[in-house]
Amino acid sequence: MGMAAADLQFHVLAVDDSLIDRKLIERLFKISSCQVTTVESGSKALEFLGLQQEHDEQNNPNQPCVSPSNQQEVEVNLIITDYCMPGMTGYDLLKKIKESSSLRNIPVVIMSSENVPSRISRCLEEGAEEFFLKPVRLSDVNKLRPHMKKTKCKSHKQVEPEIIVTEENQESIEIAHVVPSQPPQTESDTVQQQQSQANSNNKRKAMEENLSPDRTRPRFSSLTTAL
């Protein structure tokens, strides 16, 4: 697997207990030129991300929970997860990701077949970038494109590869190294909050224009050096 290829492709981790839905979501992202890994549960997702479970957190509560021994250079640019899953729900997974210093900057999208406003706002408050109602469509995945194009216009210094990344995703990965934490999204009027998020992100984008968008590299490598 060439490094160049990895740079150009946006890697999505999809989590869903339904085989049919995994197949669908995989196809949706592949047709949008993304590399996709699918797993059937939250715990498998955490395993893939290199995050060991409770025992690590108990030993080293303040250290990033990454196991160096079996840590591949796993590069994940987006996690999309079903909400209703046996064992660990999508919300539980979201929380675990946001609690992890190594993973919290990976944008997370939640999917659900049920339109429950309190569920939606809870997820967004916990840091989910988007909440999609199932069945997820090509138009939902494509909604990420305009954000990516805006990003391309502003970071015109570098040739940006043709990848799917929301404006929020782009920022959250860039900001990781500069700004401590993002304020949580608390708007809960609509399910697809593209508009309002895009608007609020425009302000953050203006501030971060000077940052070199070295988005795909640093996360894991900087952690290993820190350890």
Partner: protein, 152 residues
């Protein structure tokens, strides 16, 4: 060529009827958008998964409802899954059958659940039959050297 034309018309009429009669909804169209030269069998593959999954679910549902003490939470979990998968492939009538089913689960109404199971099963076998017919028509068109019309 005439044969292809006839088959194509048959296909389009049949497809239209499936939408008109509510067997399929827009999600089925979405599935077709995901099929291309690189993945020419995508729809058949997903639908086949749906058939396999559904038949397991229907069996599990029958068994769960036959227990001495019915675990309605478990029944509901199965129906939730069935509702999800049917929704994902656009099998509208099956999905709708599941909605009512979940209500009876919540009420722990065994008779209601039994009736809903029969209804869901009936709708499932209807749409299965329709889809198999559709795929057969596609194969006939291709075998006759034609292309399958795209309905938007």
């Amino acid at each position: 060529m005439e044969i292809v034309g006839k088959l194509q018309k048959q296909f389009m009429d049949f497809m239209s009827s499936l939408y008109r009669e509510g067997f399929l909804d827009d999600q089925f169209l979405q599935l077709q958008k995901l099929q291309d030269e690189s993945n020419p069998d995508f729809v058949v593959e997903v639908v086949s998964l749906f058939f396999e999954d559904s038949e397991k679910l229907l069996n599990n549902l029958a068994m769960a409802l036959q227990q001495q003490v019915v675990d309605f939470k478990q029944v509901d979990a199965h129906v939730h899954q069935f509702k999800g998968s049917s929704s994902s492939i656009g099998a509208q009538r099956v999905k709708n059958a599941c909605v009512g089913f979940r209500n009876f689960c919540e009420e722990k109404n065994l008779d209601g659940c039994m009736q809903c199971l029969q209804h869901a099963k009936h709708e499932y076998f209807l749409v299965k039959n329709k889809l198999e017919t559709l795929f057969r028509l596609e194969q006939q068109i291709l075998a006759a050297g034609g292309t399958v019309p795209i309905i938007s």
